[in-house]
Amino acid sequence: MKPDKVFLLHIQSGLLLQVSFFRLSDLAFINDAQVPAGVTTFPSSAQIVSEPLGCVLVISAWNYPFLLSIDPVIGAIAAGNAVVLKPSEIAPATSALFAKLLPVYVDNSCIKVVEGGVPETTELLDQKWDKIFYTGSGNIGRIVMAAAAKHLTPVALELGGKCPAIVDSDVDLHVAVKRLAVGKWGCNNGQACIAPDYVVTTKSFAPELVDSLKRVLERFYGQDPLQSEDLSRIVNSNHFYRLTNLIDDKKVSQKIVHGGQRDEKQLKIAPTLLVDVPLETALMTAEIFGPFLPIVTVEKIEDSIEFVNARTKPLAAYLFTRNKKLQGEFVSNVPAGGLLVNDVALHVTNPQLPFGGVGESGMGSYHGKLSFDCFSHKKAVLIRGFGGEAGARYPPYTAEKQSILRGLINGSFFALVLALLGFPREKR
């Protein structure tokens, strides 16, 4: 469904990074981590050992069907698990590709692909897994978690939300708008969980922002975006109609300031800008996941933080400003899976940063080492010897024993010495 070039661009970005990160010689982090053991259990040593969880299920989404399948699967394999991948049936070509190619390149006995739709997924969810990793919508996320509960299976849910982008007036507008545009329409024409869903800016700056966006859109996609090869189409007719319904609502359509064209045959919708759409409309309440960018205006830019926080916690939130104070407030006061200042979406390219949601946007995170951790159990191992026996631990609990024990637990070396010397001396 995507133009070839966009596809390559995006799979390269996620995939190569993850694969290169997991080069075997770099798997240093699977070595046991030694940790301090302390006075209370002296002498002893302690370690944290990573071990695989077992058999894990990865259910991926349709919008980045290759990346969102392979990325978690890499983590699961690196952590030593057996994996079943259930790619999205809404991206059938990619799903079929996995079913055909994956068994050829990896160990088919422990890494399997199961294709199918709702009935197959339901049956998979009835089985017992050691972890389930799901990327998709909040509604299905709830179903996945409830199914997992039957077997006490831990889950990671990478869900969506409305990712806000706050744009201040003190920015380098040309650069900001390009980044905003590529993050919105460059990412699958808005069909990405981290695409900016809506923009918040001041009433006074909005016209300039809209003009700049129009210019950049023309530069990226030409006069007639529906003819541009660089614009992804909408995944299927279901979503196409879902989206056109959103803007055909009278309250919404009158707020369109740019775009709105659609081509039913090609399933394409042009990048569309709207200003101050009424907040109770479907466009403003549900995750858009499409090429519409509503712009909400506020009196002063500081009000934008309150506006964003009044909504459910997003997967990502964006702020374009040079104002350090505003940046600081944004970072401290806006809860989200990830925050970007002066850019959009790029945090996913850094494998050291956790990628995941919070609240309605999900639970659990991955990328880089965190993918490994996501599919591992961190087992605590405490090693003691037979020395260092503290009689004070055991009943009968005399007053003497209690005071030594008190000292031991409080980390007192003196108490430790007394305990090691065998105090209190008991009559045998």
């Binding site: 053991a37 869900l159 996609y221 970072v331 002066n342 003691r384």
Partner: protein
């Protein structure tokens, strides 16, 4: 002046929810949280100090309520609950600022230099397309969290997670188990006195109150209890996408290898008894459930256990009480199975009037009997013999993953095999239960024993959201990010993502802004 202790000329708000509905309590707490009160570092520190004061001021009362609820001797209560709680909260207080500080992820600038100076070896940070940038991970509170604690360590299992939730900056609702009513009442009465009652609430009641609480959305939930209730909790939590951590039970096995020397044997037996009967009479998720030992060593072990038990239990107070009639019936029923009764080698006497079951040792009860399939949670210790001690690993493998595996052995290769071939929340060699007291290791289960870990820094992290923060400047722009795309742009991106910087540099020379 730091906000915090309820004792600032203000009357603490009603601790119980007789007057408020749970719904309005939950939304009230959310408002308090949104006001930013609990995020403030001084507030968090004052709450932790408040907890320490509560534990030190009220020590005698704590011993009383734990004795009332479970018959614990003050020595046991101090060792297992009070003492380690104070230690843990102090540790949290000492490290809080460090844990709450943003962590830098390596930025691409210094990395690029590294790459250019050495060879083009891979390290994974932001590729050049994001240069220059700074990347950080910023911990933030989750919001309003709910803690369900269990009856067997009614103080510890309530306050340890509470301290972690407060340290992470959350508002908290604590629902202690109604099966330990004196401790629950103690918490309800004292928490509002020592902590900020606007942001920390104690809700008393039984399962119906628990169910009502689950009708609401929480930003995180920690449940300690049985598998059966754990499933119910997680199913209800799914409706609201409330992330959960479940600390469940299991049959914690203890492998006892052939031990030479009187001293080692005595130490092992001391520790085994300590981890079974001295720990809430075996009613603990990490108590030793059963023993696996070589058939040759079993008689030696049993003899030594008998004599040591005699000494340890010489005076009253050596062992806590069975919780209640229901659990007494459950445990007696294990011994009513004739084959199990025939396997008793020590103890076995029960007194329904006082709800006592003396320390009981079984030798090779049938492996399909209830006592061998259910979590015992009581003072009955089955010993299963194997031909060679290595066989115990094969015995354990098909069983559900326990919260802890214990092994008394000096054999390094056996230790290694146990760590590598079995899975459990934790493994402890040559001791048992003490891992609970160590802040540096995570405490939690895997598989049927649960998920989510806490203690020490892990408690802080359990109740935090680690937010990724990425900053860029407007200065440098790479045109190959933007459409319209063509093969040369894709080519450039290939170089970028493969970290082929020489090729990239050459290509860049040809690009305009």
């Amino acid at each position: 002046m730091a906000p915090g202790l309820g004792v600032m000329g203000e009357k603490p708000a009603a601790a119980t929810t007789k007057h408020l509905s749970l719904g309005s309590m939950a939304s009230g707490l959310r408002e308090v949280y949104e006001s930013g009160r609990t995020k403030d570092m001084e507030w968090r520190q004052s709450q932790l100090r408040g907890l320490i004061s509560l534990l030190t001021d009220k020590e005698e009362e704590i011993f009383d309520v734990l004795h009332e609820d479970l018959g614990k001797h003050r020595g046991e209560s101090f060792r297992d609950e009070l003492g380690i709680l104070v230690k843990s909260v102090k540790y949290t207080l000492q490290n809080l600022k460090k844990w709450a500080a943003p962590e830098k992820a390596i930025n691409s600038c210094s990395l690029l230099l590294q790459h250019l100076l050495h060879h083009a070896h891979h390290s994974a940070e932001a590729p050049l397309v994001a240069f220059p940038a700074t990347a950080m991970v910023v911990p933030e509170p989750l919001g309003v969290v709910l803690i369900f604690s269990c009856w067997n360590f009614p103080l510890g299992l309530a306050l340890e997670p509470l301290s972690g939730a407060l340290a992470a900056g959350n508002a908290v609702v604590l629902k202690p188990s109604e099966l330990a009513p004196s401790t629950a009442a103690f918490l309800a009465a004292n928490i509002p006195k020592y902590l900020d009652s606007r942001a920390v609430k104690v809700v008393l009641g039984g399962p119906n109150v628990g169910e009502e609480l689950m009708e609401h959305r929480w930003d995180k939930l920690l449940f300690t209890g049985s598998e059966r209730v754990g499933r119910i909790i997680m199913t209800k939590a799914a409706k609201h996408l409330t992330p959960v951590a479940l600390e469940l039970g299991s049959k914690c096995p203890c492998i006892v290898d052939w031990l030479d020397g009187k001293r080692d044997r005595q130490v092992a037996v001391n520790r085994i008894i300590g981890a079974k009967w001295s720990t809430c009479a075996g009613q603990a998720c990490i108590a030793i459930d059963h023993i696996l030992v070589e058939e040759n060593f079993a008689p030696i072990l049993i003899e030594l256990m008998k004599s040591t038990l005699k000494r340890f239990m010489a005076k009253p107070g050596g062992m806590a009480r069975i919780l209640n009639e229901k659990h007494f019936q459950r445990l007696s029923a294990y011994l009513e199975d004739t084959k199990v009764a025939a396997s008793v080698v020590h103890g076995g006497c029960i007194d329904p009037k006082t709800l006592t079951i003396e320390p009981t040792i079984l030798l090779n009860p049938p492996v399909d009997s209830d006592v061998m399939t259910e979590e015992i949670f009581g003072p009955i210790l089955p010993i299963i013999t194997v031909k060679k001690i290595e066989d115990s690993i094969a015995f354990l493998k098909p069983k559900p993953k326990p919260l802890a595996i214990y092994a008394f052995t000096t054999n390094e290769s056996l230790k290694r095999r146990i760590v590598e071939e079995t899975s459990s929340g934790s493994v402890t060699f040559n001791d048992a239960v003490v891992q609970y007291a160590l802040e540096s290791v995570p405490f939690g289960g895997v598989g049927h024993s649960g998920f989510g870990q806490y203690h020490g820094k892990y408690s802080f992290e359990l109740f935090s959201n680690k937010k990724a923060v990425f900053r860029r400047s407007f200065l440098i722009e790479f045109m190959f990010r933007y459409p319209p795309w063509d093969d040369s742009k894709i080519g450039t991106l290939r170089h970028v993502f493969s970290y082929s910087y020489i090729l990239l540099f050459l290509t860049l020379l040809g690009l305009r802004r």
